[in-house]
């Protein structure tokens, strides 16, 4: 594997700020980005990503490639939580297995952006429509996870207090992050080039700076959360690395099948590999309060996220390149 790829990824400022955050926590600095500033950065990123994606999607139109990519994304978001659930059941109770399955079936928008940023340093630009894929892949796993829990949970424990399917669907499809990215995408779609000119200095020019700030915070948080998993043994940390790589590989194969460009294939496989630490915890808290958030949150935030950012993205890109060399045309 080309080490320059990894290094190239690592010396990029946003990724370096992620390291700075981790280091700050590890050496017990009191550096802190106080509430609700992390929320400002994450709202900004969602708005900017969505809007940009919408503008691009308008340029592309709904081509075959787009339809294939979106369908494939939806498919992955449904299948991943299912098989993950049964693996997790080997070691965990129904509730935690369902919550972690949902976590890995859903996606992380910041991992996505970091992949896009990585591609840009290589001079590549993935199709903006992949943002639509991102938006579509956030919700299904939440519903699947809750369905699985309700099928397999021992009936007597299943206290109905406070449960309603409408709340589940609202949490899955209308939670803040899904709604903001989807809404911004539609706004981008509606306002097109003209809208883009209006918002570009905000949504594009300062984007990398806002991303750096957010990654600084993610580094602080990831390092702080890693301790939560100390008592978890080997299974969960291993799961948090092996399953994303496996999902990325499926993603790469699927991308090859539907003939995505390498840059789009990377983004697609990164979506498959990423795990949710925003939308899923919110949904689980309401619909599966029995699941332990100090398991599924640190897995996504403190292991899978840094792994994807540091090792995963260049690794998946390397695999895509190799796959393309071996099987030039399908």
């Amino acid at each position: 594997m080309d080490t320059s790829l990894i290094i190239n990824n690592l010396v990029h400022p946003p990724v370096l700020f992620f390291f700075l955050g981790m280091i700050a926590t590890f050496c017990k600095s009191d550096l802190k980005i106080p509430d609700p500033l992390p929320k400002l950065f994450s709202l900004y990123l969602l708005l900017a990503i969505g809007f940009h994606g919408g503008v691009e999607l308008r340029k592309t139109g709904l081509t075959h490639e787009v339809v294939f990519a979106l369908s494939a994304g939806m498919g992955m978001a449904v299948i991943v939580p299912m098989y993950a659930f049964f693996i997790l059941r080997l070691k965990l109770d129904v509730y935690n297995a369902a919550a972690i399955a949902a976590t890995y079936g859903s996606i992380s928008a910041v991992t996505y952006i970091t992949a896009v940023t990585f591609l840009q340093t290589l001079g590549l630009e993935p199709g903006g429509y992949m943002v639509a894929s991102l938006a579509l892949m956030e919700s299904p796993a939440i519903v699947i996870g809750i369905i699985l829990a309700r099928i397999f949970a021992p009936k007597k424990e299943n206290d109905e207090y406070g449960f309603s399917w409408s709340a589940v669907f609202r949490e899955a499809f209308l939670n803040g992050s899904v709604l903001l990215i989807t809404g911004s995408l539609l706004i981008g779609l509606a306002s097109g080039e003209e809208g883009w000119d209006t918002l570009k200095p905000f949504t594009k020019d300062i984007f990398k700076g806002m991303l750096s700030f957010f990654l600084l915070d993610m580094g602080l948080l990831a390092a702080k959360r890693i301790g939560d998993l100390k008592s978890a043994g080997f299974f969960l940390p291993l799961f948090a690395i092996v399953v994303p790589v496996f999902n990325a590989c499926i993603g790469i194969v699927v991308a090859k099948f539907i003939d995505l460009q390498p840059e789009n294939a990377l983004v697609f496989s990164v979506l498959c590999a990423s795990a949710s630490y925003i939308a899923v915890p919110a949904a689980m808290r309401l619909s599966l309060p029995e699941a332990n958030p100090s398991m599924f949150v640190p897995m996504a935030l403190a292991i899978t996220f840094p792994f994807n950012i540091i090792v995963g993205i260049p690794l998946y890109y390397y695999l895509i390149k190799r796959a393309n060399e071996l099987i030039p045309a399908f």
């Binding site: 509430d35 992390p38 206290d159 915070d217 948080l221 915890p281 808290r285 309060p289």
Partner: protein
């Protein structure tokens, strides 16, 4: 200067609207809520989660008469049973309330 009950409740913040709804149904004269309460209990540490508004508690204080107090305790029991929390009661003297 009448003696009344003070009910203090700590619950998961996502449940605070439900608690308020119960209090409205019971018809208490008022209540006060402090959000952003962190803590520890049987369900482990709850110190908030910066990326969402989750994993925090809310503190609710209700000054009411004894009958209302009993109704409140019954109404929030299932919430605390499912989502965790604590409810304590003490005697206070109401000095001013219009």
């Amino acid at each position: 200067m009448k003696p009344v009950s003070k009910v203090e409740i700590v619950v998961d913040s996502v449940e605070v609207e439900n608690v308020a709804k119960f209090l409205d149904e019971i018809g208490v004269s008022g209540y006060s809520i402090i959000n952003d309460v962190i803590g520890k209990g049987h369900r482990g540490v709850r110190s908030g989660y910066e990326l969402t508004d989750l994993f925090k508690n809310s503190y609710i204080m209700v000054v009411c008469d004894e009958k209302e107090m009993h109704r409140i305790v019954e109404a929030i029991r299932p919430i605390i049973k499912k989502f965790g929390g604590i409810c304590i009661v003490s005697d206070v003297v109401m000095r001013i309330h219009k």
